[in-house]
């Protein structure tokens, strides 16, 4: 209980510091959003008219205060370029990014678990060698390159999946998931490789523990020992990685979102940075920081659920 409270306080402090950092880092980014919106032939007075319309002529602190106090009540402000509520914009992107992150993570877990268990339980056997070989390659492949190859084979050559884009959830979950499949695979492969390696080494560590020998001395088969005794104990490092990966997938899909032209959070940030839509950049970065912090918190709680020694 105290543990959870302490984490919560640390979490709030982190968020506060992050908000100041994000705001002022983003504010120093050169480039005028108004000039970008009006293009090559715009007259200077037109630009300044737009600047005051957007509220860009006020001081940085005033804008930070307005932004942060708005965020606390769920009002993210209005995008400079799109002129729409950021909260609705972000929500539109979250319904792409979040399912994509979850999808990719599930794939990674589904691939990594059997692979890691197989490798650990047949240490130095054929299965282990094969799994470790694949994971080495999986870790080494840049995911955008892998994405290109996936598109080439599955979208252009065989046309099993769309090459990109997102039809929206209104058209049915099947089409939406189909559109997210190739991006999810591209994202999942390196993560699955990492996860499988972590799971394997964590399992091997665990399998070397004394209580495994105790379990074997009870008459448990190696397989039962692995499932009943080793796996849960091996989960802590695996969970740490899964938490990190989820945060990474939520924000780190920028390149993959570009390859598959998915309207996700990453691409929103990328576009917002290039069009100097500063409030959007700030709000989305803050949202991602929030997500990371929350995931870390949840992972911490999960540790305690897995390991009674951490329940304090």
């Amino acid at each position: 209980m105290i543990f959870a409270l302490k984490r919560l306080v640390a979490l709030a402090v982190t968020l506060m510091v992050a908000s100041v950092l994000v705001f002022f880092v983003v504010e120093v980014v050169p480039g005028d959003p108004a000039a970008y919106m009006l293009g090559l032939n715009a007259a200077p007075d037109t630009v300044s008219a737009l600047r005051s319309e957007l509220g860009l002529d006020r001081t940085g602190f005033a804008r930070w205060f307005e932004w942060i106090s708005g965020m606390l009540v769920g009002d993210f402000g209005v995008s400079y370029t799109y002129r729409t509520e950021i909260s609705t914009m972000v929500l539109d992107r979250v319904v792409v990014s979040l399912p994509l992150a979850i999808y990719a993570l599930l794939l990674a877990v589904v691939i990594a678990f059997p692979a890691g268990v197989l490798a650990a339980s047949h240490r130095r056997g054929v299965g282990d060698t094969a799994v470790m070989g694949f994971t080495q390659i999986g870790v080494a492949i840049p995911n955008f390159w892998f994405a290109m190859l996936l598109v080439l084979v599955f979208a252009i050559h065989w046309r099993w999946f769309p090459s990109g884009g997102f039809p929206g959830w209104s058209g049915g979950a099947f089409d939406a998931l189909k559109a997210l499949t190739l991006p999810a695979i591209a994202l999942a492969l390196p993560q699955a490789a990492i996860l499988a390696r972590v799971l394997r080494s964590s399992l091997l560590d665990t399998l070397g523990q004394d209580y495994i020998r105790t379990a074997r001395a009870k008459g448990l088969s190696p397989r039962a020992t692995l499932w009943k005794h080793a796996l849960r104990n091996a989960m802590i490092p695996v969970l740490t990685i899964v938490g990190l990966q989820f945060s990474f997938l939520l924000a780190g899909a920028i390149i993959i979102e570009n390859v598959f032209y998915l309207p996700g959070l990453g691409r929103l940030i990328f576009q917002a940075i290039s069009s100097r839509d500063l409030v959007v950049v700030e709000s989305v970065v803050m949202l991602l920081v929030f997500a990371v912090v929350v995931v870390t918190f949840v992972v911490d709680l999960a540790y305690a659920w897995i390991d009674p020694r951490l329940r304090r």
Binding site: P30, G31, N41, T46, M148, S163, G165, S274, S275
Partner: protein
Amino acid sequence: MSAPGFLYVAIASVWLASAAQAARTDVTIGMQLEPPNLDPTGGAAAAIDEIVYANVFEGLTRFGPDGSVLPGLALEWSPKDGGKYYVFALRDNVTFHDGSAFTAEDVVFTLDRARSEDSTNAQKALFENIERVDIIDPTTVEIHLAEPSGVLPFNLAWGDAVMVDEASVDTLATAPVGTGPFRFERWVQGDRVELVRNDDYWGEAVALEKASFRFISEPTAAFSAMMAGDIDAFPNFPAPENIPQFEADPRFSAVVGSTEGETILAMNNAKAPLDDIRVRRAIAHAIDRAAIIDGAMFGFGTPIGTHFAPHHPDYVDLVEASGFDQDAAKALLDEAGVTDLTLSLKLPPPSYARRGGEIIAAQLREIGINTEIENLEWAQWLEQVFKGKDFDLTIVSHTEPLDIGIYARPDYYFQYDDADFQAMMESLATETDAAARSALLVDAQNKIAEDQVNAYLFQLAKTGVAAVGLQGLWENSPTQANDLTGVFWQD
């Protein structure tokens, strides 16, 4: 609904009923950039016009596929008093998508709004000459000018001059309401804009029921989207190197046309040593246009020797004057006494600039000029180059039609300040005689070529691809638009 439109729909429905596989009535158009908003009167982005021009919004006049000025919401017009004022006769059966009627009052509102003090219209200059707009009757307006001008109908054909309704003006950015053959359906930001047929359209009903514009910034993604059949047409396909592949594929046809984009290596005329015409000439002679067109554009593009579109009747071919001649270039540099020159070369994102920049850098190195390439995003380019004029060289394509007038603006980013040229442009603005106008335009082209303000590279080609069967897309780009009025599917 007009008679021919009705007939067409009737035929189409008969055909629909008879054929097992009906002709499609929807289309998905690919675009590289997503517009920041959908109000053509409040932003400059070409992407806005590429969606809404002629589809959602219409002006009094409009551009045709060949760049000619055609009647739009005005049935006809005539200059009076030597171009001192114009009388426009408006169509009388036009309604906005929200149901309100289009009348002379909307014309006054639109033009007053564009000229107002707090207007955010990106092409405010188009309206500067307008003194006042008078309502004669609900379907007739008089537009009075400060100076007589022959270009008003041309100016009013721009996307920035489309007619808007006062009632919906606050929501144009996200929910545009116009008079066009398509009404705005929805905008999935980051992905697509959807339009549906406006069944109350005043003109000939369009064949398409639904049109989606999808935004795909990555050239690779664009290629795979076309190849996978997710997109029916990509009118401005961003990777010219893929065009031959589309041509070779029976599922696609490549549409290569011209644009209004003069692609130039702009030089900072106010900055030493580029203020020396010999240095500018040396740079121009160092450039092998053929290599650039071949290397950067994979052969698509027409060399130009001045800032003018080759398909324009008044175009003068001045390519030879600044032809590829490394010896001449070196000699000019010696003459100017320039050695050890290093110039910054700031490049915006399009591939003509990024690839062209690398080629030009290599070519300049051949005559002993080093360059420091800096790849910029558009926002940075606007800030540093366009606004801050902090650059030596840059590559950009000027896509506005007939925009030689920018050379008369001394504070324009390449900072060419020449009184003779400015005088030429002043007389052009008031000249209404066609022959005299032509002569002035020829002089202007020669003048900026002689002064070698910039190095003129090539006219940007419009490299489009479309699925076989999709008919009626514009081949050329007289303005940035994807006019879908005449687009239909044919088996």
